[in-house]
Amino acid sequence: MYKILANLPFPTNQVYYLPSCHSTNEIAQNLLPAGVKEGTVVITDAQTAGKGQAGNQWHSAPGQNLTFSLILQPTFLKPNEQFLLTVAVSLGIKDMLEDILPGEVKIKWPNDIYFRDRKIAGILIENTLRGSSFVVAVVGIGLNVNQVEFPAALKAVSVKQATGRHSDLNKLLNNLLVHIAHNYAMLKERNRENWRQRYHQSMLGFGEERQFRAAGEEFTGVIRGTDEFGRLLLERGKQTLRLQHKEVAMLG
């Protein structure tokens, strides 16, 4: 059973636990009209239709991993600053994992967390906006914890595979929320630039020559960071491209 014991800077620490559900993001969305507060967590042991990016399903064995959604109300952000949410949540997950896997955790732009060259966690953020105002953000997170077998094609890895140890899911959930809340609190600070730099320096492939595909061509490029909208800054020869995620693939 899940319980938030950590002292988080949110108005509630309520946890909705579902033994199984389609998608925690969907349940969280359904809770919104009832006026749930920032900090509410929806968590399940078995997500039957978890949403991954581009229609991919998140593969998770029941009861072995963390699959949950956190409700946030970043009304202090403008919609076109929303990539900062991805930055905050990515860094929160990375910081938590760095405590147990120092130096081995990277953020694969824009929103996957990697241990070495394998995916250990994924994020799916769904916002509701009215005009130019934020209403609410539902932050879905999947972290592979105790699962030790994955389909090979997924290139996935778990905390257990990385550390050799079994983890207590509730303890990990609390640690994760502490680190996410810490990074989220920094969104309200003025000094966002240093903090964006930290995201950039955590990027998989940052500053390295790698192969990319964009606009139907394959080429060697170097990731230089992201712009204010979260677009990838990719150096190709003398020019710097600004690319949305569908416009580019990192090949290796």
Binding site: Y16, K78, I125, R130
Partner: protein
């Protein structure tokens, strides 16, 4: 340690419990557990019977939900958004614009119907489209009520910040 430092009492009010039951009733879920420091609540649905099992100490019996007695402040109605007076297009039509760069989607997924079509009435707060940017998915709600006159952008195509997406006749 955590218990001592966390002084905030989170007591579930009967209204919240009722909301929760309503929520469960409206979904296909059979079982929901909620656990905070003060309470542990399990709700199971058995066909048409909704059963509330109260296992914590902090909750009052919930058999007869009474109107919430606490001196609740009057619901703070959000300041009236009013009719946007800025940059109205010709003939009194109002534009719904993209609040960010991204990709414009008219439906939640390729299999489902468009959120709105030309001729549909929309109300304030109604979802009209999704704009996806760097894997953040944004449901855009209308700020105006009226009738959709024109959809200005093709489905699944890129949009710029402030680009008009829909024309709405607010009259």
């Amino acid at each position: 340690m955590e218990n001592a430092s966390n002084k905030k009492k989170i007591v579930m009010k009967t209204k919240e419990i009722r909301d929760l039951i309503d929520f469960i009733a409206g979904t296909g879920l059979n079982e929901v557990h909620i656990e905070t420091e003060e309470l542990k609540l399990s709700v199971k649905r058995d066909r048409k019977i909704t059963q509330v099992i109260e296992a914590g100490a902090a909750v009052a019996p919930v058999a007869a939900p009474a109107p919430q007695p606490a001196a609740a402040p009057a619901p703070a109605a959000p300041a009236a958004t009013g009719k946007p007076a800025d940059s109205e297009p010709a003939s009194g039509l109002v534009e719904i614009k993209s609040p960010m760069i991204g990709t414009f989607y008219r439906s939640a997924n390729p299999e489902s119907d468009a959120f709105v079509n030309v001729g549909d009435s929309v109300s304030v707060g109604q979802t009209v489209c999704i704009v996806e940017a760097m894997k953040l998915f944004n449901e855009i709600e209308s700020e105006v009520s009226g009738k959709i006159v024109k959809v200005l952008v093709e489905n699944a195509t890129p949009v710029e910040y402030d680009q008009p997406l829909f024309l709405v006749d607010p009259s």
